[in-house]
């Protein structure tokens, strides 16, 4: 018994439009990938990574497990909407198949099943009805949470809500309406035919007693179909584009495609994958310091809306805390750098003036970098360590230091940074060295990512020290203090070096374990990524981080970054040492003890 076969058109038009749009979009994205990325992607389908990609698509795209782990309520909201809806579609189709014993029905039939089938009397109809009602209930609870979150966010908490574009509003309104309207339509069906289950039948009874059902019955199905159609048409132009994009992103990520320094379609895909869950807000120390326009969720929104992004793009420290927290695993740091490069006009810099340092042949090169020169104790300690080990080390930038190029890169000045990179590369390659040692993690990251130095192993000093201790070339000795280790952003989150520095510190002192450490370590506030961040905000970040450390009452704060050291040392609550200084102290202590024992044995002998 089919009364009005026309109301499916809004839904049909929306669905067809959405699929056509998505197919074209994905093809365009693919075409714009670089040649190598295309090859990677083609090869990917022959590998086992495909399964990992499928697993992640289900876990993150449907179940939203990553959000769930970070914030269960938020996770439930996303899960109920995404997974609930998915199950509703699947179960809906199974129900129709069970009813008709065939696959031959138009695909929208399942969507409006309660309309087309007033008397489901196949085996299991009751069970299906209950399941469908249950799923709808779950989704409705998700919608309710979404509404509460939106309203509450504006009443308290959220310092700034992102401006919704027209399409966002349409999409949001239709998404929120879809499920209540479905409930309404199905309940009205149930009012007539009693073909629903616990929820729709109960509501239906209420309707039959209080409302003239016949007057609004067809209308309700029309509205339901329209809400679906509107949502599908608005989706590509709204933030809900993240739903399909995230799946594409997961597959490309598993194909091993890496973010680049320039803005490409992979970067664009990442940008669209942001679900605006807001988890990055909690991770950002600047948010507490009163800066509320740089956080990833906002900055991605500004970019998508083509708003003026100067402040939000260049005001962030690029500490990477938000990247680590992001449940979608967006490479936020790289995205920012690429965007900075894209947004910056090249401001001419020229380093023709740099005099070539006296070229030396050496097996090991030590490059201190600007920041280590600013904290001379670190470079003296390095020299002390090298002397003790007796290694032939060429201190490459002993007198005339030139920068590694990272600060220029972070400021979006790619060409100028390349000039410095070129100069350093020439010097290093001409030396014939096999190892390059760095005591600044910012340099280290730059050398690893932006330099091409074939045949040279690039080592961070803490890693080198760790090796030396393990080989027994450096002594293990307890200096008798309680320490805290601070993971520098560029070393920890930036280069994933967490354990070696800890091993070195444990060899010399008693290290207190923190809750906020490793990937969740705090930022010192002075990172070179911040170009136009007000100094007050930086100082606040430093102060808060130091207050956190001070609670543990350590004798010293050990870090592995000259910039962190310089920044933290200004706050005089805890003495700050670089890991090289700690090691140099241990060497001094060891040498003194050796002398003492030699003297004592001589005394005994004489």
């Amino acid at each position: 018994m089919i009364r009005d076969p026309n109301f499916q058109y809004p839904f049909l038009i929306g669905t067809i439009f959405l699929f056509a749009y998505l197919i074209i979009r994905v093809i365009l994205w693919y075409i714009k990938l670089s040649k190598y990325d295309k090859l990677r992607f083609i090869h990917f389908w022959k590998t086992k990574s495909v399964w990992a990609a499928i697993r992640d698509s289900v876990a993150d795209g449907l179940l939203h497990l990553s959000i769930f782990k970070k914030n269960p309520l938020l996770g439930y909201m996303h899960m109920s909407l995404a997974f609930g809806w998915f199950l509703l579609i699947v179960m809906g189709h199974l129900e129709v198949i069970a009813d008709r014993h065939s696959l031959n029905f138009p695909f929208y039939y399942a969507v409006f099943y309660r309309y087309y089938q007033p008397h489901p009397d196949f085996a299991g109809a009751k069970v299906f009805g209950a399941v469908m009602d249950f799923l709808l209930l779950i989704i409705l609870s998700g919608v309710a949470l979404a509404i509460i979150k939106r309203i509450r966010k504006q009443i308290f908490g959220m310092k700034r809500t992102t401006r919704l574009k027209t399409f966002d509003k349409i999409a949001l309104a239709s998404l929120w309406l879809i499920f209540p309207l479905r409930l309404l339509a199905e309940s009205l069906s149930a009012a007539y035919y009693h073909n629903g289950s616990f929820m729709s039948n109960t509501l239906g009874e209420w309707f039959i007693q209080n409302v003239r059902v016949s007057a609004i019955y067809d209308l309700s199905w029309w509205l339901y179909s329209c809400s679906l159609g509107f949502f599908f048409i608005a989706l590509p132009f709204s933030r809900y584009m993240h739903i399909p994009t995230e799946i594409v992103f997961i597959f490309l990520r598993h194909a091993g495609i890496m973010p680049k320094k320039y803005w490409n379609s992979y970067a664009q895909i990442q940008m669209y994958s942001c679900s605006r869950c807001g988890i990055c807000l909690d991770a950002c120390q600047l948010y507490e310091a009163g800066v509320s326009n740089v956080q990833s969720v906002y900055f991605l929104q500004f970019i998508r809306n083509n708003e003026n992004v100067d402040k939000s793009l260049f005001g962030c420290i690029i500490c990477g805390r938000c990247q680590e927290a992001c449940p979608v695993h967006i490479n936020l740091n790289d995205l920012r750098t690429a965007l900075r490069i894209k947004a910056s006009k090249p401001l001419t810099f020229s380093y023709e003036y740099t005099q070539k340092a006296l070229q030396q042949k050496a097996g090991i090169i030590y490059f201190a970098g600007c920041m280590t020169h600013l904290t001379p104790q670190i470079k003296f300690s390095m020299r002390r360590i090298f002397d003790f080990l007796g290694d032939n080390v060429w201190f490459m930038d002993k007198d005339k230091s030139i920068c590694c190029g990272a600060p220029l890169m972070l400021a979006g000045q790619y060409d100028s940074a390349s000039q410095l990179i070129q100069k350093n590369t020439e010097l290093i390659m001409a030396s014939g060295a096999k190892t390059l040692i760095l005591s600044c993690p910012i340099c280290y990251k730059a050398f690893r990512e932006d330099y091409v130095l074939p045949g040279i192993s690039i080592k961070f000093h803490a890693v080198y020290l760790n090796e030396m201790i393990r080989q027994g070339r450096l002594p293990k000795i307890n200096l008798g203090f309680k320490t805290i280790y601070h993971d520098p952003c560029a070393l920890g989150r930036g280069s994933k070096i967490y354990d070696q520095p800890r091993y070195v510190i444990d060899s010399y002192s008693q290290r207190i374990r923190l809750k906020k450490e490793k990937a969740e370590a705090l930022c010192c506030g002075a990172g070179l990524g911040a170009i136009n961040l007000p100094i007050e905000a930086k100082n606040k970040v430093t102060f808060e981080a130091m207050s956190y450390f001070a609670r543990f009452k350590p004798n010293a704060l050990i870090t592995a970054c000259p910039l962190c050291k310089k920044t933290f040392a200004r706050d005089r609550r805890i003495p700050v040492l670089d890991i090289a200084e700690l090691t140099a102290r241990a060497i001094d202590e060891y040498v003194n003890e050796q002398k003492k024992t030699v003297r004592e044995t001589r005394l005994i002998e004489s």
Binding site: C403, L528, I531
Partner: protein, 112 residues
């Protein structure tokens, strides 16, 4: 007696009634901390670029204050944006942002 006249050597004068402080003001608008410079020279002492050349970041702020904007662009090409100056400044002046802004504004003026 040969004329001995301070007023003859015009190019060394700073005419405080006729200063071109547009650039300075624009920079201060973008980076307000810049107005607190006391010309102490700590920034210059530590400067990575200054280690190689006569580049003098403290002079840049002096030049700006005097409105002598010619030659500024050429001079500022030498900065490596390393940020040491910012870290040593006793008045917490964000010199990296100052350098960036001077360059940006000059470029904007040139292309406008």
């Amino acid at each position: 007696m040969a004329t001995f006249d301070f007023l003859e050597i015009r190019h060394l004068h700073i005419d405080y009634d006729n200063l071109d402080q547009e650039l300075l003001n624009e920079v201060i608008r973008e980076e307000p901390s810049f107005q607190w410079c006391i010309s102490c020279g700590c920034c210059t002492a530590t400067c990575s670029a200054g280690n190689h050349t006569t580049f003098n970041i403290r002079r840049i702020s002096l030049i700006l204050r005097r409105g002598e904007v010619e030659g500024l662009e050429e001079e500022l090409k030498k900065c490596m944006l390393c940020g040491k100056c910012t870290l040593v400044c006793p008045r917490d002046i964000q010199l990296r942002n100052v350098v960036m802004n001077i360059k940006k504004i000059i470029l904007k003026k040139k292309t406008a």
